[in-house]
Amino acid sequence: MGRESSERPNYQILAIVTMTRNRVITGSPLALFAEEEEQQKRMAQDLAKAMKADTVKTKDGDYLILRV
């Protein structure tokens, strides 16, 4: 992306919600483990609402909570 990546907007990852236990790593950003898909979706949505953030679903099935 070159120069464009240094321009606004700056994305900040606030949290990750995953169903794969070994992707839950302590530290920042917050990584949460969900038992099943509905719970994962719900957790991601609740976090995004609380933090006024956006949600990205990765192809591996994880949810990233991002703020622009």
Binding site: R3, R8, A44, Q45, D54, T55, V56, K57, L66
Partner: protein, 303 residues
């Protein structure tokens, strides 16, 4: 005491210059779809600075004619004052950056600030030319002098206004409606990938139902240089969100093969026609404008 008073001829010259110069500034304060400057305080500030610019232009000739050569150096003050206008405009717009739906971007702010500075020069030049006309004619019938000053001032205004007029996106590109598609959490417009920020079901549903998109097709290959510029795209996106409001999401994306640019958003109000008109009317920024004919020239540069 009589000798210290300004003569009627100079008084007419100054008043005509000030009135014409201020009128030139008034005519260039536009309240178009961009709604900037906003009424009434923005208007007042620019009319007053325009009046001061016109006054400086109008008194230059009488100052010269009375052999007051030092007084002409106050024109340098005018330049300083106009630079301050540019600086204050830039600061004011930068202060507002975090409160808008999206960023104007530094390139757009620079363009707006320069325009405000340039328009003060309109007032100065029109006032100067008007008073110069009266001085050159110097007829006994003062009203003929004034009418001639109005005509010459009007022509001057027309020429410099035309000279400084920039192009808009509609002049260099076609703007057409784009088809919004959601595939999983990814947003596509006319098959161009735009974003994967639509991770939640609500976001995808909202975009599918309410999202609007336009695709910009540059007329010429070299227009892509300007259109692909981040500042230019940000300016277009800003104008789109400013005109239609930004309910939730707004994105711009460039496509490399054909140089298409996607502008898409979920608006508060408005329809696709309003979005197309807004994008067409968005200005081509001075800072990104390139002259392809100049780049081809053999008159300058190395062999």
């Amino acid at each position: 005491m009589e000798n210290e008073m300004i003569s009627t001829q100079y008084l007419v010259m100054i008043v005509t210059g000030v009135v014409l110069g201020t009128t030139a500034r008034l005519l260039t304060i536009k309240a178009d779809y961009r709604q900037y400057p906003s009424y009434p305080n923005g208007y007042l500030i620019h009319v007053i600075t325009g009046f001061i610019a016109a006054s400086l232009g109008a008194v230059a000739i009488p100052a010269l004619m009375t052999k007051n050569f030092v007084a002409v150096t106050f024109l340098t003050l005018a330049i300083q004052q106009f630079r301050d206008v540019r600086r204050s405009e830039r600061e004011s717009l930068k202060d507002l950056e975090n409160t808008e739906y999206t960023y104007r971007g530094d390139a757009y702010i620079d363009g707006i600030a320069k325009t405000f500075e340039a328009r003060n020069y309109f007032a100065l030049v029109v006032a100067l030319v008007s008073s110069l006309t009266i001085q050159i004619l110097n007829l006994d019938q003062m009203w003929i002098n004034v009418i001639a000053a109005i005509v010459v001032g009007g022509i001057t205004f027309y020429i410099i206004n035309r000279f400084s007029k920039g192009k808009s996106i509609g002049d260099i590109a076609d703007v057409k409606q784009g088809k919004v598609e959601i595939k999983g959490s990814e947003l596509f417009v006319d098959g161009i990938y735009v974003s994967n920020l639509l991770g939640s079901d609500n976001a995808a549903k909202m975009y599918e139902e309410e999202g609007l998109a336009v695709v910009i097709y540059p007329h010429q290959e070299h227009y892509r240089i300007g259109l692909d510029n981040f500042g230019q795209r940000q300016a277009i996106l800003f104008e789109a969100t400013r005109a239609l409001g930004g309910k939730r999401y707004h994105f711009s994306r460039k496509e490399y093969d054909e140089g298409r640019i996607v502008i898409t958003l979920v608006p508060i109000t408005g329809d696709i026609n309003k979005l197309i008109d807004t994008v067409k009317n968005a200005p081509v920024l001075e800072s990104v404008k390139k002259s392809s004919s100049l780049m081809k020239t053999k008159y300058v540069g190395r062999e």
